[in-house]
């Protein structure tokens, strides 16, 4: 809506730019939460991407003399932790793992859930029973305990953390797809595809999945925030990212012992988690409203 | 040239007639949307006598429903009545406060809609639903209200009214729900009943029976009816006078049988030629070209200009006023005589 179509670059007259700008302004006005969420998430993404260029130090480099430097002390904009590592640098590098934890499990669980939910929802009968009931079993377990159990079984590390969160996310993603698909399959255009001679896999991949994508993505975005918190929590208890790698959850844990005298060591990563999680939540809410057919004009 | 075309209220002069019930003058209801101002009702004049059945016919987007809602002052945001006046039983409805308007609704003016099930309380028995209205507006006791409700349902040819009164909405068919809503609307003896596409969702046989019984019922109560519809058949069955609406304006107004015999506006002619009718077996359909203008389009002249087969330059420059062509026959066309002869032959 905001972007110009790709082939319009050559004839980009001023009026067209103005139109796009005014469209953008109107979009921002009617979809505030998307814009706010995008700015917050975008800020974190930029930090993560620019970490190699912008971070003042290596996130693991120890400066024994500058241990627990305060916020704003010379050379350490956001201070240093008790090993003398620069907090700003660690936050920037840590953003990478936090983003990975938010996005990767969602992508994996989203794709699997889309296929499983579509098959269960469209075909029904035995596939529905098998897929949905086994999802119910997983869904019945408290997600944080499940994530901890899987992470503990597989062992620590980013890859295993992503796997465990994917398992936690699979049931809700499958279930939301299933719900979307059961209403979609009643639509006349699905009947039309059937009558056109399309096979069941063709219908699922050409008709069902493209139309369930948008609501499923919106739902996924609203879960990304809690994934950030989950991931940080698991790292906090030592099952996620391993030291000395920078990670926000780990950083909170590191600052725990000095919380009374040097609160910035824990609270700054906490604030970062808050910004990213809240950003994703705004984005998810906004996308849900945007894609809600009742909101369309 | 210009003073020939005076916008005059159809059917009556400026002096209120003794039997006049409703007078709408230059009504304008606009919707402020993202795409601009939609002039859904763009200067509408009409009047309604006591006990008269007036039809308002138009396609979707013509503004007929918004006109009906405007009279009830039930236009929702972002819509607003921006101009004109509505006089009902001598008082100016647009000047009334919300409280008085609420008291008027349901007692002096009632309304029925297309989807009856959405307008009934799903957890309330039909009998309680109907009698509540009567108790509220007339202070009648529950028992007496039940008796009255059963009496009205009987007129509406409900075989066993007592059973219906004991039922919940979901146990009834669409036709029965509409009968219940009609009973609710008329039980207080209103002076005006507004029916907004009230029979459009029903089957033809059910529709015919409801329209006939509605006719009987309004005769008993002396209620006038303003009926909006897109269906020629409904107007034919239920209305003595009809107005054709297009692009938020009334383009033609006359007695119902005159409209079908001798339409005086090119849009009406086009509409009649678009509808297959059992009385005109063998005649081909001659559909109008093009689409109606968007309500947000700013059109100075005639709204039908873009699709009109007999258009001339003047039609684009000046809004043709609704003027009396024959006695009681009003048309908003500069060339009403040509409409019939030139188009349909």
């Amino acid at each position: 809506m905001v972007s110009l179509s790709p082939n319009s670059t050559s004839d980009r007259s001023p009026s067209r730019v103005m139109l796009a700008l005014s469209n953008g302004r109107r979009f921002a006005k009617t979809h505030k939460s998307i814009v706010v969420g995008a700015i917050m998430v975008g800020f974190v993404v930029a930090m993560a991407a620019l970490a190699p260029v912008l971070s003042p130090y290596s996130p693991t480099r120890i400066h024994p003399l500058d241990r627990l430097a305060g916020v704003g002390s010379p050379g350490y904009l956001l201070g240093a932790d008790q090993q003398g590592r620069d907090i700003l640098s660690r936050l920037m590098w840590g953003a990478r793992s936090s983003l990975a934890i938010a996005v990767l499990p969602l992508t994996i669980a989203g794709i699997l859930g889309l296929v499983l939910g579509s098959v269960a929802g469209y075909i029904g009968k035995l596939p529905e029973t098998l897929i949905m009931r086994s999802m119910d079993v997983v869904f019945g377990l408290p997600p944080i305990l499940l994530a901890i159990a899987v992470a503990a079984t597989l062992g620590p590390g980013l890859v295993n953390l992503v796997i465990s969160l994917s398992i936690v996310l699979l049931p809700p993603m499958t279930r939301v797809t299933f719900q979307v698909v059961t209403t979609l399959k009643e639509q006349p255009f699905v009947d039309a595809a059937k009558v056109s001679g399309a096979t069941t896999p063709q219908i699922i991949f050409d008709q069902i999945i493209p139309n369930s994508l948008a609501p499923v993505i919106a739902y996924g975005a609203s879960l990304a925030g809690s994934m950030v918190v989950f991931g940080a929590g698991i790292s906090f208890i030592g099952l996620g990212i391993q030291p000395p790698q920078a990670d926000w959850g780990r950083m909170i844990n590191d600052g725990r012992e000095v919380l009374d005298l040097h609160p910035h060591v824990s609270t700054l990563p906490g604030l970062a988690i808050f910004i990213l999680a809240a950003g994703f939540n705004f984005l998810g809410d906004g996308l849900r409203d945007l894609l809600d057919p009742r909101m369309r004009m | 040239m210009q003073q020939h075309f005076r916008t005059i209220d159809p059917g009556a002069g400026k002096v209120p007639q003794p039997d006049e019930l409703l007078r709408v003058e230059d009504l304008r209801t606009h919707f402020h949307t993202r795409h601009g101002i939609a002039k859904s009702v763009d200067g509408v004049d009409f009047h309604l006598s006591k006990g008269e059945h007036l039809g308002l016919i138009g396609e979707s987007g013509s503004g007929k429903s918004v006109t009906a809602l405007s009279v009830m002052r039930l236009v929702r945001e972002p819509g607003r009545i921006v101009g004109g006046s509505i006089h009902f039983e001598g008082q100016d409805l647009l000047g009334l406060d919300a409280q008085s308007m609420r008291r008027l609704r349901g007692s002096r003016i009632s309304m029925i809609f297309q989807d009856p099930l959405n307008h009934l309380d799903p957890v309330m028995k039909i009998g309680d639903w109907i009698s509540e209205t009567l108790t509220l507006h007339k202070g009648v006791g529950r028992k007496a209200a039940y008796v009255e409700a059963a009496r009205i349902l009987k007129v509406l040819k409900v075989a066993s009214p007592e059973d219906v009164l004991r039922a919940y909405p979901f146990q009834l068919s669409g036709g029965m729900c509409q009968r219940v809503l009609i009973a609710t609307a008329i039980i207080t003896g209103p002076a005006l009943l507004i029916a907004d596409e009230a029979t459009s969702a029903l089957d033809v046989t059910v529709q015919a029976s409801i329209l006939r019984n509605l006719d009987e019922l309004t005769d008993i109560f002396g209620t006038a009816v303003l009926l909006t519809t897109h269906n020629m058949l409904v107007v034919r069955q239920a209305c003595t006078r009809v107005m054709v609406m297009y692009g938020g304006r009334i383009v033609e107004s006359c007695d119902t049988d005159v409209l079908f015999r001798n339409p005086m506006h090119p849009y009406t002619v086009g509409l009649l030629d678009s509808v297959p009718a059992l009385e005109r077996i063998g005649e081909p359909l001659r559909p109008m070209a093009g689409e109606p203008p968007l309500p947000t389009e700013d059109i100075v002249g005639c709204k039908f200009y873009g699709r009109c087969p007999i258009r001339r330059p003047v039609c684009q420059e000046m809004r043709p006023p609704l003027a009396e062509v024959e006695s009681g026959h009003w048309s908003a066309c500069f060339f009403p005589e040509e409409s019939r002869s030139k188009i349909s032959s």
Partner: protein, 353 residues
């Protein structure tokens, strides 16, 4: 099995569709969920008719009479409970898989809802090309061939090549319905099932689409099964009329016969309701009450609860569909002499030249 059909399973040259004693019963939903319900909805309950090459048969009736179910059965979107369907002399009653897919090259459907029947995320061109692709009617990678065909189809339904790139929400209802028609005729079917194809359109769009149906039919010689609740539409388009009520055929005959000399009281009532002259016209043929539920329908003639002529026999015995004139069949006891007609047929359409 083959003997089920009137044709005896023999090839009849210009027979497109033959439907014999077709039934579709659904288990009734609702009621007490704890008690297993034994009730069934008899949506279509023993319907027989046929369609010849290039013929238009209109199925008329009120909502819930089973006309849409009949259309979906013929196109085999749902499977019949019993009875038989033959399409171009092939038994398709219970075909599955590849056979079912090849049926779709012969019979297509246009749906009522022009908004829901197009995939909102597919361009118009992609929607029309879809049946060509899934049926591999063009070689893989023959993009130009497909595009050419799509353009041709768009032009046939009164649109143009520029519409191919549009998305459904950019089109008006009438235009969308044209796209649905283009998609349906893409595979050159011999039979088109039209399920209330103009009911959701505005009056002027309705007339234009009806004229398009007429023109297409003239040019291609397709046969139509035209399902509608609107008698005047049926009159305008059809060669033969099939009147349905509560899952049963009440009357079936040539258009002129059914409209000018209706035999069945229900047909009379339908016509009367569609042609009423004014507020105070004759009351005799206006029906009271509602159509009966197809869950456990009344015994005897389905229409007996509303019929102005009904006698004791009508509630006891189901009337058979008998031929009263050449090709004109009616299911009513009045005609088999079991019941005296008390009121003469009051409404006849004035025969206009």
């Amino acid at each position: 099995m083959e003997r089920l059909f009137l044709s005896g399973g023999i090839k009849i040259k210009n027979l497109i569709l033959e439907v014999v004693n077709l039934k579709k019963h659904f288990p009734a939903r609702g009621g007490n969920p704890l008690v297993r319900s034994e009730r069934t909805v008899k949506a279509v309950d023993g319907v027989s008719f046929d369609i010849r090459e290039g013929e238009v048969v209109a199925v008329v009736g009120e909502s819930g009479c089973g006309k849409s179910t009949l259309g979906r059965l013929v196109i085999r979107l749902i499977e019949p409970s019993s009875g038989g369907i033959r399409l171009s002399n092939e038994d398709v009653t219970h075909v599955q898989g590849e056979e079912l897919r090849s049926l779709r090259l012969k019979a297509q459907i246009v749906f009522q809802d022009p908004f829901g029947s197009l995939n909102p995320r597919m361009t118009v061109g992609a929607s029309i090309a879809y049946p060509l692709q899934v049926n591999r009617l063009f070689k893989r990678g023959d993009k130009e061939g497909v595009e050419q065909r799509v353009k041709e189809l768009l032009e046939r339904v009164g649109l143009n090549a520029a519409h191919a790139k549009r998305l459904p929400h950019e089109l008006s209802g009438g235009q969308r319905q044209r796209v649905g028609i283009a998609r349906a005729i893409a595979v050159n079917p011999k039979l088109l099932v039209l399920d209330e194809p103009v009911a959701a359109l505005d009056l002027s769009a309705q007339a234009r689409v009806l004229n398009l149906f007429k023109e297409l039919q003239r040019n291609t010689g397709m046969a139509y099964l035209f399902i509608t609740h609107d008698l005047s539409v049926a009159e305008y388009i059809a060669d033969r009329i099939l009147v349905m009520y509560a899952g049963k055929v009440m009357e079936l005959g040539p258009r002129g016969g059914v409209f000018k000399t209706p035999w069945h009281p229900y047909t009379e009532a339908l016509l009367a309701a569609a042609i009423l002259e004014g507020p105070s016209s004759s009351d005799a043929t206006i029906l009271d009450g509602d159509p009966p539920s197809t869950i456990d329908p009344p015994p005897g003639c389905r229409f007996n609860t509303r019929c102005p002529h009904a006698g004791p026999i009508c509630a006891a015995e189901e009337p058979a569909l008998v031929e009263v004139q050449d090709g004109h069949m009616v299911a009513c006891h009045l005609l088999t002499g079991k019941l005296q007609r008390r009121i003469p047929a009051s409404t006849r359409i004035p025969v206009s030249a």
